[in-house]
């Protein structure tokens, strides 16, 4: 803050010092220049006198020689001393009276001069602005006489100039004749039409003025000093007041700027002065008004955008909740439906079996085939329902492993005996080859049995009167023992395209297959998932027309999902550990298996108190929290977590069947997921929260700078770190060292287009796991479309890009490289 008062004082002090010094100098100077000052005073008096005399002379001259002034061509008269002498070709006349060499004119001038005591002359103006004297009362001096070129001095500079240039009506001319002394001259111009053709002038010698002034000025100078001091003091006071007055509006402006900076919109600064400060105040007022206008506009826009965002967020939230509710409803429906369907099916299957028996007993064998059909159809329907239920349970993450140790050979025998009727139905032969030392196996017996049964029944389904081979062996690989079951058939086989779709739910090799061979199309999907749950794989090789081989690889000792492994130790895991607090062991199992795949370490607590203890010990990156737990429930735990300064910053994800998001968020939860858990969503949420809300690294490959800029803007708003490349090759360079987490790709680009870029990306290790979102303005051929459908996450049309949809897609990948195909 500037103290304006002090500035006024300083200014006044400085100024008064300067003024005193200046006036002292002026005083000294004035002693010298006072002469000139006095001369001027006397000259003024002289000028008035000359002017009066000139007026009198003019009037007399007018009466004596009436008529207009005019120039008349005549005999040239030489003048001037320069050789060759210049000559005057035109002559000034008043009426019919020539001026030059006219005794009457000279006599009149002399008479008037004597009456007034003033020397009078008439001069003609030459075309080059020189002034030539034609008649004069001055007859006695050295410079007397006519045809004399008069001189003049510039009134401000004192420099000699052509007299004609200095001609201004009524103004004195400080000049002299060509040879004479300085005169003080007053003139009146003579006009012919609009032209100044000459002057009528009165002059008085300059010399006497200078002499009389010199003496008087000294006495004036002696009385000057006290005046100088008084003037200095007065000036200082005046300046002080002036400065303060000047600074007051400045201070008003300063304060207004301050208020403006603090976001107030002050009234305009009231400064009425018309000086620079006033101008500044008015400029400031204009600026403030403009700012207010701009601010109001921006505020309105921000307000509007915020409301739009809130609305779309609310819509998204509602949609998400609706989806959650729908998902739960679906799960409940499936569970209920499977039960409700199975009960009548039991009756159908049971009664048809009973009737078969009855028919046999009563020897009504003609009924038996039909009853068998009813029975078979019932069994098939039951299988369908079981498969759908299994798959929905797997998808919902509610399929659990029950590990037990069993004899591999016994298991195989059991499966073979179960499958035999099916094999025989299609006139196939089953050949079983068991390797040496199969021994026991620790796995989920039911699931392995089902997997093997599925493969065998599949093989039989697509083979007629052929051979189905089951080879089971125990093989070491990667330092582990594996049980390998290979099912080979001599059936119809599959093409590469069919193989690619094979493990997708509900997709048999082609649609007609279902009609011809029956089945749900779920068997292989379920088989694959079961094996994966146990840490194994299912692979397939096939040659169309020659048959297929499906091979299951399972660890001989399947490791249980480590539900309770570390929670007792409670050691801090590596950075980014997730703490699961839930009393349901199955939940720990599910979360652990889900996050394990993402390489995220999980520690478990089975109650609220234990959870708080572990949270303090392990400082996890994220906590998932159940609500309904015995003892210290989730709400209490959440309160305690948020009340503890060392824990309050850890994001908490509520993971519960209780749907009370408001309470959760009001207590400080970061996310609220309801059971059954959407695993993909859980992963995304955890990844996002672990990453502390920052997005991943995104690469934009597009040759259009405007498009890049637009996408960069959107991405940066979502906290992504953005890299750009103008074409595919540059894109490859950018990600030479490290793959980004997301790529936004244009297709039509110079140098290397999007398709080539994709191919190069996928050729790189890990390149396929980078989600690619294509943003293109190109019209795609069906072939291109299909190619993209399998190779990129999503295709957006640049020409009508739905921003909401686009952002949703980006968010889907936010911090979580998409796991494709799941």
């Amino acid at each position: 803050m500037v103290k304006t008062g002090s500035i006024a004082t300083k200014v006044a002090l400085v100024v008064s010092a300067v003024v005193v010094a200046a006036l002292a100098l002026v005083g000294v100077f004035a002693l010298r220049s006072s002469d000139k000052e006095l001369v001027r005073l006397q000259l003024d008096q002289a000028s008035r006198r000359l002017n009066t005399n000139l007026a009198i002379a003019e009037r007399i001259f007018e009466e004596r020689f009436p008529g207009d002034w005019r120039l008349v061509d005549g005999k040239p008269v030489p003048f001037g001393q320069a050789a060759p002498p210049e000559s005057l070709a035109t002559h000034l006349f008043k009426g019919d009276t020539p001026i030059l060499s006219n005794p009457e004119v000279t006599a009149l001038l002399l008479e008037v001069a004597r009456l007034t005591g003033t020397e009078l002359s008439i001069a003609q103006r030459l075309p080059d602005n020189r002034v030539l004297r034609l008649a004069t009362s001055d007859t006695g001096s050295a410079s007397s006489g006519v045809l004399t070129v008069m001189r003049s001095r510039d009134p401000t500079t004192g420099e000699p100039v052509a007299a004609g240039l200095a001609l201004r009506e009524g103004e004195p001319v400080f000049g002299r004749s060509t040879e004479g002394e300085d005169d003080w001259t007053l003139y009146r111009t003579i006009h012919a039409g609009n032209d100044i053709v000459g002057v009528f002038y009165a002059a008085t010698p300059y010399g006497p003025f200078a002499e009389s002034a010199a003496a008087a000025s000294r006495s004036v100078a002696e009385g000057l000093l006290p005046v100088v001091l008084m003037v200095a003091a007065g000036a200082s006071l005046l300046l002080f007041l002036l400065t303060r007055g000047m600074l007051r509006p400045l201070r008003a402006i300063h304060d207004a700027v301050g208020r403006l900076g603090e976001g107030e919109w002050p009234q305009e600064v009231r400064v009425r002065s018309r000086d620079e400060v006033g101008e500044l105040a008015r400029a400031f007022n204009r600026m403030a008004a403009d700012l207010r206008q701009i601010y109001a506009t921006i505020e309105e826009k921000v307000h509007l955008r915020t409301r739009e965002l809130e609305e779309s967020n609310a819509a998204l939230g509602a949609a998400r909740e609706a989806a959650d509710v729908a998902n739960q409803a679906k799960s409940r429906f499936l569970a209920n439906m499977s039960h409700e369907l199975r009960t009548p099916l039991n009756a159908i299957i049971g009664y048809s079996e009973m009737l078969e028996e009855e028919a046999e007993d009563r020897e009504q064998t003609d009924l038996i085939p039909d009853l068998q059909k009813i029975h078979g159809a019932g069994r098939h329907l039951l299988q369908l329902i079981n498969d759908i239920l299994d798959l929905s349970k797997i998808e919902a993450g509610r399929m659990d492993l029950y590990l037990e140790t069993f004899d591999v050979k016994a298991m195989v025998d059991e499966v073979v005996s179960t499958i035999q009727p099916l094999i025989r139905q299609k006139s196939n032969t089953l050949r079983v080859t068991l390797g040496d030392g199969l021994g026991p196996m620790h796995a989920d017996l039911t699931k392995l049995r089902q997997a093997l049964f599925n493969l065998l029944s599949n093989a039989s389904k697509f083979t007629e009167a052929g051979t189905i081979e089951l080879r089971v062996s125990r093989e070491p690989r990667n330092g582990m023992e594996w049980i390998v079951c290979a099912v080979h058939d001599s059936g119809i086989g599959m093409s590469a395209e069919q193989l690619a779709r094979l493990f997708q739910p509900f997709s048999q090799a082609d649609a007609s297959t279902t009609r011809k061979y029956g089945g749900t199309g779920l068997g292989l999907t379920i088989t694959k998932r079961f094996c994966e749950m146990m840490g194994g794989t299912v692979t397939v090789e096939s040659v169309p027309g020659e048959g297929s081989t499906f091979t299951i690889h399972l660890p001989a000792d399947v490791q249980p999902p480590p539900v309770t492994a570390e929670h007792v130790a409670g050691v801090a895991g590596p950075a980014g550990t997730v703490l699961v607090i839930d009393d349901d062991a199955a939940m720990h199992d599910l979360v652990r298996r889900t996050l394990d795949k993402e390489g995220i370490n999980v520690i478990s607590a089975f109650g609220g108190d234990e959870g708080l203890l572990l949270a303090r010990e392990a400082k996890p990156a994220v906590i998932t929290l159940d609500v309904m737990m015995p003892g210290n429930d989730g709400w209490n735990v959440l309160r305690s977590l948020k009340a503890d300064p060392s824990l309050s910053s850890i994001p908490v994800v509520m993971l519960t069947i209780v749907d009370d998001k408001n309470l959760g968020f009001s207590l400080g939860a970061s996310e609220y997921l309801t059971k059954p858990v959407d695993r993909e969503r859980l992963v995304r949420v955890i990844r996002r929260l672990r990453a502390d809300g920052t997005g991943g690294r995104a690469l934009i490959v597009d040759d259009d700078p405007a498009a890049r800029e637009r996408m960069r803007h959107m991405l940066e708003q979502e906290a992504w770190e953005v890299f750009e490349a103008p074409h595919g090759r540059a894109g490859l360079d950018v990600m030479a060292d490290r793959l980004p987490d997301l790529i936004l790709l244009d297709l039509m680009m110079p140098e290397m287009d999007g398709f080539e870029f994709l191919a190069a990306l996928h050729a790189r290790e890990g390149g396929r796991s980078v989600p690619v979102v294509v943003v293109t303005g190109a019209d795609l051929t069906p072939a291109e479309r299909e190619h993209l459908a399998v190779n990129v996450a999503k295709v957006f049309d640049k020409r009508h890009l739905d921003e909401t949809e686009f952002l949703t897609e980006l968010r889907r990948h936010l911090g979580a490289p998409a796991t494709k195909g799941s």
Binding site: R342, N346, M354, K393, D400, T446
Partner: protein
């Protein structure tokens, strides 16, 4: 004659199983829920109980636990019948104290084998 108590709430299933077992020479008592099952088991002392697991009121698992806990019924073998041919049901049934487990719809031959092995264990 081997006496079997069938606890099953579904009329069709109960009728069907009763008839098929009766036909094969068993004496079949029926109960439509867990509580009735417990009373009958105590009163009739069957040789074996076939227990549907999804019963109204107290379910099959709970009924089995109570049978095991009752002095007069603790030794009666129980075969659990569930509609859910899911991994885990078997384990849950065994945990609750069932001696064996089968899925509905029953395969008669397999069920008969299980009944026989529990009612006439080979020495």
């Amino acid at each position: 004659m081997t006496k079997i108590l069938l606890v099953e709430d579904n009329d069709l299933n109960r009728d069907m199983l009763t008839r098929r077992l009766t036909k094969r020479g068993y004496e079949v008592l029926t109960a439509t829920d867990g509580e009735q099952g417990l009373v009958l088991a105590q009163a009739e002392q069957p040789d074996l109980v076939l227990m549907d697991m999804s019963l109204p009121g107290i379910d099959g698992w709970e009924t089995t636990r109570r049978l095991r806990a009752g002095a007069g019924t603790a030794a009666i073998p129980v075969i659990a019948l569930t509609a859910h041919a899911m991994a885990g049901d078997r384990e849950r049934a065994l945990e609750a104290g069932c001696d064996d487990y089968d899925t509905k719809p029953v395969e008669m031959d397999r069920l008969l084998l299980k009944i026989e092995s529990l009612t006439h264990p080979r020495p």
